[in-house]
């Protein structure tokens, strides 16, 4: 059977100098070494599975998520989503894929209803049907009728993140990319978002790729896991198979990468400066 996602020798580097790099090159000045965010990644995600990618900060998870989500162009290698190339057939891929990132990206002054109605229109869902589904999904998530019409900035981050997952769901994606959906949430919201993700996996036949640095989350939600470190996939297996006798997944991670998941932060610089 055709895999949901196949990633073949994917390489992505970032030039730290930006436009400045072009000048330096033109002037023959030495260039800063590029950051190798993804270093020849090979991954095959099967249909219907929840595929976890665990790694610490800066290991390349979001870069990988973005390439698959058509938000970054690869330097080399190929990525196919249900047989469609993410570069050449980006718009086709976009139609059946969605991504939830660590920040709930909404017009925060608008209500969940307004934000989701916008998404519905963009994705070509009939207005009446969309409205019904929006209410249905948001209510199931335990979001009060009143809150559905209030600006999103009046919601907790946990609630916002739930709305973000709901928005992705509204577009009926066959591939759902969740990039650290619970990072920074309080324990209760975290659990609620995780429960919702599990419910989606059980009730929809979507394929899910979950990026996380939360080992418990990875172990609970994922059918298979890949450990990513410095842009390379170190191992890939079932969570139970990654652990040795008496080890937690965290222990296994440390054994494989040589460091704890939270500590290693190679890049602490803020978002790239203006060109």
């Amino acid at each position: 059977m055709q895999p949901a996602v196949s990633i073949d020798h994917l390489v992505k580097r970032f030039d730290p100098a930006g436009f400045g790099g072009a000048w330096r090159r033109a002037l023959g000045r030495p260039l800063k070494d590029p950051i190798v965010a993804l270093d020849a990644i090979n991954v095959t995600v099967r249909r219907g599975e929840v595929y976890g990618i665990v790694g610490s900060n800066g290991s390349g998870k979001s870069t990988l998520a973005r390439v698959v989500a058509t938000l970054l162009l690869p330097d080399s290698g190929a990525v196919q989503v249900f047989g469609h190339d993410v570069v050449k057939e980006a718009r086709t891929v976009r139609r059946f894929m969605n991504r939830v990132s660590v920040e709930a990206s909404f017009f925060k002054k608008l209500s969940p209803l307004e934000n989701l109605s916008f998404t519905a229109r963009i994705y070509g869902l009939p207005a009446g049907e969309a409205r019904e589904r929006i209410f249905e999904i948001l209510k199931r998530l335990g979001i009060e009728e009143k809150a559905i019409r209030r600006p999103m900035d009046q919601m907790s981050r946990g609630q916002q993140q739930k709305v973000a997952v709901a928005r992705a769901l509204l577009t009926s994606p066959v591939l759902l990319i969740l990039d650290e959906p619970t990072t920074g949430l309080d324990p209760r919201s975290k659990r609620e978002v995780q429960d919702f993700v599990r419910e989606i996996c059980d009730t929809h036949d979507a394929t899910v790729i979950l990026m996380t640095h939360d080992m418990d989350e990875a172990e609970q939600l994922c059918d298979r896991l890949a450990v990513i470190d410095k842009g390379r996939i170190l191992v890939e297996d079932k969570p139970t198979a990654l652990r040795r006798e008496g080890e937690t997944l965290e222990d296994a991670f440390i054994r494989l990468t040589g460091h704890a998941v939270e500590v290693h932060e190679p890049d602490k610089t803020a978002a790239g400066g203006g060109g």
Binding site: L71, F107, T119, I122
Partner: protein
């Protein structure tokens, strides 16, 4: 759904969402509108003020109209330009840039939707400003050719869109500096387009720039329509340069935007964190 209808409906989504956002920021809208109205009034007062300063009578009524047309048309064009040029920055500022760019729509759909919003929003503001100023000065605009004026504005908007779209793409290349360049473009247009004076008074080297500014032609045509009530047929010659500018800048703008987007996707300029 038919693809074209789908894309139209998707571009309407941007119009609707942006108007909703404007509504939520209504306090600021009122303040900015107040500011624009006061600016327009202030400029119009230059006419009677000029009579006093010069110490000799001249037809200040015509000068008022000249200035009012300038200030209202500039309020409109400036707002269209601002709003169009802001389309990418706005998404980035709200944090939706990635979800918007990931939507399964054509890029022109996004551009068209954001531009349609810009035009409608700016038009509504300009009408309010015009009405208030006209009432304040009891302006006699009985001679005006409003159909012609509307046509000028419609065609003039197109002439400005291309440059606006190119400016909109700058933040895809330079993050912050892109928005700074936009402000420079905008200010330069104000200087060379003859908003408050005929461009003939500019030094030669500056007057030359007025030739490539679409705003110059919009202002000339608008003054012909409103001050002199020139008929639609006689306005046609004004449309020539505007159409030429549109024919060059609009496709170029969309192309530049596409190029900038590919640059951003290659170099991770859409968004880096998260």
């Amino acid at each position: 759904m038919v693809p074209l209808r789908r894309e139209l409906s998707a571009s309407y989504a941007f119009v609707e969402r942006n108007f909703r956002a404007v509504r939520r920021y209504w306090g600021w809208e009122v303040v900015f509108l107040f500011h624009s109205i006061v600016s327009a009034l202030t400029v119009a007062f230059i006419a009677p003020g000029g009579v006093v300063v010069a110490g000799q009578q001249f037809d200040s009524d015509r000068l008022i109209l000249f200035l009012v047309v300038g200030t209202v048309v500039w309020a409109y064009l400036d707002s269209v330009f601002d709003s169009v040029a802001f389309m990418v920055s706005w998404e980035r500022w709200e944090g939706t840039i990635e979800s918007t760019f990931m939507a399964p729509i054509r890029r022109v759909t996004f551009i068209a939707g954001s531009s349609a919003f810009a035009v409608l929003y700016s038009f509504a503001r300009a009408v309010v400003i015009l009405v208030v100023v006209a009432l304040f000065f009891s302006l006699d605009m009985g001679a005006a050719n409003w159909v012609g004026a509307f046509a000028v504005l419609a065609i003039g908007s197109l002439g400005l869109l291309g440059i606006g779209i190119m400016s909109a793409a700058l933040p895809l290349l330079f993050l912050e500096r892109g928005s700074q360049m936009t402000v420079v473009v905008q200010a330069s247009l104000l200087l060379v387009s003859g908003v408050y004076y005929p461009v003939e008074v500019l030094p030669d080297w500056l007057e030359w720039f007025s030739v490539i500014s679409p705003a110059t032609y919009v202002l000339n045509a608008m003054r012909a329509a409103v001050l002199d009530g020139v008929t639609l047929i006689d306005l046609l010659p004004h449309f020539g340069p505007l159409m030429l500018i549109t024919a060059v800048t609009l496709p170029l703008g969309v192309w530049v935007f596409g190029w900038a987007e590919r640059y951003a996707l290659r170099h991770g300029r859409l968004k880096r964190s998260g």
